[in-house]
Symmetry: C2
Subunit: 237 residues, 2 copies
């Protein structure tokens, strides 16, 4: 972890909030109190507080203080960007990944539109089935730019592609745009998931970028509707 002063203050405050040492509706220590306590400048304190505001844990009121929001639980991070492997480990679930298909294709007109890759871009197309506690819960359809994610193969795909991208290729992932919708599953994919007689799945479409702004991955993550939820915080204004 980073050992910055603003992170110290951030972690200090976050611990107070998530462990309810200060209750929802109450105020965190004032900026001047925190500058004294941590022996830092006010800018540094404000930076830590700004992070908490962006996370939706607190809200500042001019002239009054910074208030803890009710329901400020750590579940806020569920919507976060993490790989299947990371998420499953964190929640101590028995999981495995089944590679259903692995091919190299080029974008045609339809696929270019859907993925926003240019026409005729060479892509890895991978279908992976995510099995949790012996049920096929998630179908991931990944498209990786062939020229960027060099040397991808089935063995890597069985483990963690993100791990390969970051630790072997030394590429840095900036973040992802996610679009969420509910759709009927395609006929050819129906038998890959353990669905009841309902054919609807929740689909998260991920557009994932490197730190230089280049799109390197488009993925559709198709979830059994009853095994899926997504959390976020939205500020007014």
């Amino acid at each position: 972890m980073k050992n910055n002063k603003y992170m110290d203050i951030y972690n200090f405050l976050k611990e107070l909030i998530v462990n309810k040492k200060i209750k929802p509706g109450e105020k965190i220590p004032s900026e001047s109190q925190l500058t004294k306590k941590f022996n830092v400048s006010r800018n540094t304190v404000r930076r830590a507080i700004t992070m908490l505001i962006n996370e939706g844990l607190v809200n500042s009121i001019h002239g009054k203080g910074v208030f803890i929001l009710e329901n400020s639980s750590p579940s806020f991070s569920i919507g976060g960007l993490q790989s299947f492997e990371e998420a499953s480990k964190k929640n101590n679930l028995k999981y495995k990944t089944i590679i259903h298909s692995f091919e190299i294709i080029k974008t045609d007109k339809n696929l270019a539109k859907k993925t926003t890759f240019p026409l005729n871009t060479k892509l890895y197309k991978i279908k992976r089935i995510r099995n949790i506690d012996n049920e096929n819960i998630i179908l991931d359809v990944n498209y990786f730019n062939y020229e960027i994610i060099k040397g991808l193969n089935k063995i890597i795909a069985k483990k963690s592609i993100y791990d390969y991208v970051e630790n072997n290729l030394k590429l840095n992932i900036a973040g992802a745009k996610k679009v969420l919708s509910v759709e009927k599953i395609e006929a050819c994919e129906k038998n890959l998931l353990d669905l009841d007689n309902n054919e609807l799945v929740a689909i998260i479409k991920n557009f994932v970028y490197l730190d230089n702004g280049v799109l390197f991955e488009y993925t559709e993550s198709k979830h059994r509707y009853d095994k899926f939820s997504f959390t976020s915080y939205v500020r007014r204004i």
Copy 2:
């Protein structure tokens, strides 16, 4: 709109990005260039850039510059907190609201758990059907704290409750935690929406806070699955 210096710089940069005057993968002007152009301190420039980073429009790389992400369209704000009225107006849709029921209740054990209001809290419970282009698309089930949202009635509910809360009661809304899931609609609500023979709906559960951190509203917004999508941006780390 606020007339702050950092907002000027933010708006200047955002205009460049959304109108593709600088293309994805390219850099925005450096911090020192912007301080000269706007005649401000570096802190002020950095604040504007930080906002763009948080929105997922750009990504900064130490020592290199701030890069525009591909797909940096303004659709990023779809997930934003806005009332049905605001959203429909913005998109120029023909809409109307039908009040299906309006009652005053108290939380029992189940409802307290679901809404996170304390047991025996007095609430307004309102069911409203949102009709867009002559189809019943959304069913909103609102629970408002009776002691906070004083004087609510059917006429207000037919228009905009948020408008009443902010302009008449002079309360300030901080933001909302949103939890998204897909569920079977309740039998008694099935005929309120124009569903096909599928009984699944996308449900957004909203926990809405005032600026002092107090929960004043819990709402379940039930959407016809085929008329619904949700966008957000998630950063790595």
